[in-house]
Amino acid sequence: MTTSIEALREQIIGLLPRLRRFARALVRHPDDADDLVQITIERALTRLDQWRPDSRLESWMFGILRNAWIDEVRARGRRSRVLAPAELGENVAEPSSASHLELLVIENALAQLPEDQRVAVALVLIEGLSYKEAATILEVPIGTLTSRLARAREALALILEPAPGVAP
């Protein structure tokens, strides 16, 4: 292929904001999320020969990040330390604005989902990937992806929507 390494580096730089967002949806502490992005960049650069230019670079890198996250979770022998409910709110800066507070609320809700549902939400609802792309990244059939999404939506609605009659 004519795609030069330099051009790929430029493309990766363009993807960094979204890779950071994806990581933040999986891991709530910003530094841990950036660690995940850094691991992703390093892995991607050593495996550039494995990227097939017929697939989107972003899909490929989201896949690497997701696998790095799974490795990380497994290496810790339990659900990621940074996601342990007891530590919710720790190491997190004071909310500085309403939008920051809202991010904490949503991160908290996502942290309550099983890992497979959380990744599905991050890829489809937050990153806007198609079902097909997301299913490919997760190496599952589309039906599996959509049922994970359905369960995740149900759970999130329960967590986020106050019951009728309850004041906001």
Binding site: G14, L16, P17, R20, I41, A98, S99, G128, T146
Partner: protein, 247 residues
Amino acid sequence: MNVSDEVLTAYVDGELDAATRSELEAAIAANVALAQRVARHRALIARVRGAFDPVLREPVPDRLLAAVGARAPAPAKVTDINVKREARTARERRPWSWPQLGAIAASLAAGAVIGQLLMQRPGPLQARDGNLIARGELAAALSDQLVSEQARDAPIAIGISFRAKAGDYCRTFRMRARDDLAGLACRDGVDWRVDLLTRIDASVTGGMEQAGTAMPEAVLRTVDATMAGEPMDGAAEKDARQRSWHD
């Protein structure tokens, strides 16, 4: 028309083919319950996705740029700025691929009202490509009404006008005659795209009712997350109106 949740979520996720989509949109326009369900799904996506918007706008840490190692380390400072600027412009240039995430009903009650409004012909709202577009009196008020000059009892009251971080003009509004809905609309070409609509709960606004332009929490939160800088003053509004809310 009996529509499964699977089909509805595929619709809001932009996964339906064009034919099924327009068939479903017709059904939504004719069925309040269906419109409510769509609005709820949309509101959830918008909320989850919207919460992460600030992350996209954060500067990318130097260590990540360094990990990509796009440049030789010689003139460190300047290189960093350039790399950052490239990252920023690359981000701004990229066409947004999110499947037509449009109108948001901030509550179930608002979803029900939106459903009814969509059925009115002519009404203040129209669904198009997954977005809600202001029509009629609402569109007219958004385009023409100045906060400084509007009548106290105007059927539609504009709250504030501001520039969004994306650069477009946005205005908050209240529709008194319409179950007292409040919302946020942003200029989208020649249209006003309604990004948020919520019902004002009189018991919550309480004494602020008289103020006329008091905005519910959901609207304020969205404004806070969207606005670049300060709300526009009277002169800036007038100026923007003269340019039809374009640059």
